[in-house]
């Protein structure tokens, strides 16, 4: 069976975790991602920026009653990339 190439952007623990979370909800706040992944704020920020650069997620910064919020949402390109990644994983695992 031919092995498909694994997207290097997704093939990294924290970025993969973030994408998995974002594919399960409509949108999520930064603190949600931080809680679920147990990552540090700094590291999470960096990885989210990389995902945004790749066009896989959208980031919106807004103020709610003077309370800053960073809302992350997966993009259609991100969903497609994630789906391809999972399909590639399957070729490695003979599923």
């Amino acid at each position: 069976m031919q092995f498909k190439e694994l997207d290097p952007i997704l093939h990294s623990q924290l970025r993969l975790a973030v994408m998995s979370l974002l594919i399960s909800v409509k949108e999520a706040e930064f603190s949600f991602l931080k809680e679920q992944t147990n990552a540090t704020s700094g590291n999470l920020s960096v990885q989210i920026s990389k995902l945004k650069e790749a066009g896989y997620i959208d980031i919106t910064k807004q103020f709610n009653n003077n309370y800053p919020q960073t809302i992350c949402k997966i993009t259609p390109a991100g969903i497609e990339a994630f789906e391809n990644y999972v399909k590639a994983l399957q070729t490695y695992m003979n599923l």
Partner: protein
């Protein structure tokens, strides 16, 4: 979480773990249920008092709904800060309750114009049951499922009265369907917060 390259197997486990965690996330303070439950309870009870002429009302008690609507918007905005993620269930809830609100508006406005009388009340109970039951099914929250069914049973019972007593039945329906589940939701909500504090 460290930045390490995982094996394919570990990747799969990570993905499904994260998805399971996200699926289990919900934010429900029970505030809306209590707000609308009490409003309906009060409005319909007042309407009953008005109908049996226990005391005259200077205005239609249902105008209170307008105040509740404004309160709802206010609470929504305040709660948005604490809502860390919007799930598909949240989206489904919004759709269902919006369709319900539109139907009730059509019923009350159209019913008022056509002057159909007391039949509005059993139909109102019928409509109350719909979003409550569906919400309960989506969230697997049994009190709502039972509340919806209770509304429908009260709807059938109300057909045998056809008088102003029906107002009380509607009030009771709102109580069973929204106030009791609302308190249950609220208790769960506070327990959730307490658990999170203890874990930290």
């Amino acid at each position: 979480m460290e930045q390490q390259i995982l094996s394919e197997k570990e990747s799969l486990v990570l993905i499904s773990n994260m998805i399971s965690k996200a699926k289990n996330y919900y934010y429900e303070s029970g505030l809306s249920a209590l707000l609308w439950g009490f409003t309906n309870l009060i409005c319909f009870t007042l309407a009953y008092f008005d109908a049996v002429k226990w005391f005259a009302f200077p205005f239609n008690p249902f105008y209170l709904m307008g105040i509740t609507f404004i309160l709802q918007i206010y609470f929504d905005r305040k709660e948005k800060i604490f809502r860390k993620a919007v799930t598909y269930k949240d989206e489904a809830h919004t759709y269902v309750w919006t369709a319900f609100a539109i139907s009730v508006l059509i019923l009350t406005i159209g019913g008022g114009i056509a002057n159909i009388g007391y039949i509005v009340l059993p139909v109102l109970l019928l409509l109350f049951g719909i979003p409550t039951f569906i919400s309960g099914c989506i969230s697997r929250f049994r009190p709502f499922i039972l509340g919806g069914i209770a509304c429908w049973i009260l709807c059938i019972i109300s057909l045998f009265y056809q008088t102003y007593t029906t107002y009380l039945l509607v009030a009771l329906g709102a109580g069973l369907a929204w106030i009791i589940p609302g308190f249950i939701l609220r208790k769960r909500f506070y327990k959730n917060i307490a658990n999170q504090h203890n874990a930290v």
